[in-house]
């Protein structure tokens, strides 16, 4: 059994040279900027930056796979906006009885850039940062341990659920449940996996909560640290730069 995380240790600057708290600041700034950046070119530039960082971290392939996972969502956005956006005026093209409009497609592009940028920035954080280091980093910078633990748990939730789903699916198949067939059969098999997954997740959460309690997680004392992880030089500057750029973009957006 291995730890459930998307993080893979690699000897790159993004993995080793940037501390977890700075990467968390990068993620939060990226999310704010994804909504604040007003132009396509700005959003495209941000995407290039995110993909560049992922390439630098040698995580481009895995993150593109993750981004492709959102393809259905993106296609849905384009179809709905292209056809039904209330601002639709300029006909872009016609496909039989279907009319697709320029305003809707441009709006869909804006939303898609936001989605892809947020996923890419999340990949930078999740794939290059050990969840084990995140909590310590957050607590060192004054966040309550519970808040730090929430961030760590969020980083582990998807792989944990995928592991759980795989185990439940095997168990259901071993008892004769078919996982293929028509839509109705697939829906039935989905329910057979979904119910136990929710139940086992709730039990795991309770077990984990007890495990933390019995080890003094809610003790009213100032935490200490077993291992000292020195923060690499230049991180304060990098964080300040990220925050400044984000604030500048937000102010620019509000003023324009």
């Amino acid at each position: 059994m291995t730890s459930v995380t998307l993080y893979r240790p690699r000897a790159t600057f993004v993995h080793q040279g940037v501390d977890p708290f700075t990467k968390l600041v990068y993620l939060l700034c990226s999310i704010v900027m994804a909504f604040a950046i007003p132009t396509f070119w700005g959003a495209a530039g941000m995407l290039v930056l995110n993909l560049g960082v992922l390439a630098w971290a040698r995580e481009l392939k895995r993150s593109l796979q993750t981004i492709l996972g959102s393809l259905l969502l993106l296609v849905t956005i384009f179809v709905i906006q292209g056809l039904f956006n209330p601002a639709n005026r300029t006909l872009l093209f016609t496909l039989g009885p279907v009319h697709v409009y320029q305003e809707g497609i441009l709006f869909a592009l804006t939303i898609s850039f936001r989605v892809v940028n947020i996923i890419a920035a999340s990949c930078v954080f999740v794939m290059t940062t050990s969840p084990a280091r995140v909590m310590d980093a957050c607590v060192r910078y004054g966040l309550p341990p519970k808040a730090g633990y929430v961030v760590t748990s969020i980083m582990q939730i998807i792989p944990t659920m995928l592991t759980s789903v795989a185990r439940i699916r095997e168990a259901q198949q071993s008892r004769g449940m078919s996982m293929s067939g028509n839509v109705l059969q697939r829906f039935r098999s989905f329910l057979a996996v979904f119910g136990p997954m929710v139940l086992s997740s709730l039990i795991s959460i309770q077990d984990r909560a007890i495990a933390l309690e019995v080890r003094g997680f809610s003790a009213r004392t100032k935490r200490t640290f077993y291992v000292d992880h020195p923060v690499p030089r230049g991180m304060v500057l990098l964080r300040a730069l990220l925050l400044l750029v984000t604030i500048a973009v937000v102010v620019w957006r509000l003023a324009s």
Partner: protein, 280 residues
């Protein structure tokens, strides 16, 4: 060390009393085994010793639970872990999920309690040596075998130096090798004088390591005595608890006997006596 008086508990949104007027005492350094069928209230009793009942689960509680002179009901959960350590069934669920190595995982509780760095190092050194984990200190805790994981789980609560260690079915998920590892660790704790309470279905292993056995059935304390006296009782077969095979075999040989042996060693001795007395 542990004093329980009239402990009665009901979970929230339930009318059923899970623990019914339990009264018992455990001496300092004693190892008490708890047996009982599923749903007897064994785990709830363990949680009551730690304060999870009622602080975590809430519900209705009456009676008193005093551990190391501290009233569990009136104390904060975060403080109780200084007095009581709780280890439960699934070793993997006991890990914090926030540490990369075995030694960091073991030190997690010390960090929460604000223990200084030098003391942390000293305690981790002590507990890893005691439980045979010294070679595994740099390993990822999630990559260990079941027995090793459970030893890490025990170490991670023992490092807090609690006066009482409560183990709730610590070997239920383990193979025989893992089970042997855990019981070797329990034996090491006994040698250290740690007061230990163990809930376990593997009765034959339990009687080897415990000075007394408590039998819980449907929330009631049916028996509390030495293993031999407990399993010699006429009503023992009606509790839904496995009776050691040595006891059953001896009972079959000598149905009139007032007491039965529970371990291999005791059985060999008793069989020698039996043979001698029947030769004469």
């Amino acid at each position: 060390m542990i004093r329980v008086r009239g402990l009665t508990y009901t979970y929230p949104n339930s009318d059923k009393q899970v623990l019914k007027n339990i009264t018992l005492e455990v001496e300092r350094g004693e190892t008490l085994g708890i047996v009982g069928p599923n749903g007897a209230g064994k785990s709830t009793f363990c949680h009551a010793l730690m304060g999870l009942v009622p602080h975590f689960y809430h519900g209705t509680i009456s009676g008193e639970v005093i551990v190391n002179g501290v009233s569990v009901v009136q104390s904060h959960m975060g403080e109780m872990c200084r007095h009581v350590g709780l280890v439960f069934q699934e070793p993997i669920h006991q890990f914090s999920g926030a540490k990369l190595t075995v030694e960091e995982e073991i030190a997690f509780g010390l960090e929460n309690l604000g223990v200084d760095s030098a003391t942390m190092q000293e305690r981790v050194d002590w507990v890893t040596a005691l439980l045979g984990l010294a070679d595994l200190r740099r390993r990822n805790p999630y990559e260990l075998s079941g027995g090793q994981m459970q030893r890490v789980a025990i170490a991670s609560v023992l490092v807090l130096k609690p006066q009482v260690l409560v183990l709730d079915e610590p070997t239920s998920q383990l193979d025989p090798a893992g089970t042997a590892e855990v019981f070797a660790a329990i034996e090491a704790l006994r040698a250290e004088g740690v007061t230990t309470v163990i809930v376990e279905h593997k009765v034959e292993l339990l009687v080897e390591h415990c000075s007394r056995i408590a039998v819980l059935v449907d929330g009631e304390l049916k028996a509390l005595d030495t293993p031999s006296r407990v399993f010699s009782r006429a009503d023992a077969e009606h509790w839904g608890v496995e009776i050691p095979r040595y006891s059953r075999a001896y009972r079959a040989l000598d149905p009139a006997s007032e007491s039965v042996p529970t371990t291999l060693h005791e059985t060999v001795e008793r069989l020698r006596d039996y043979e001698l007395s029947h030769r004469g």
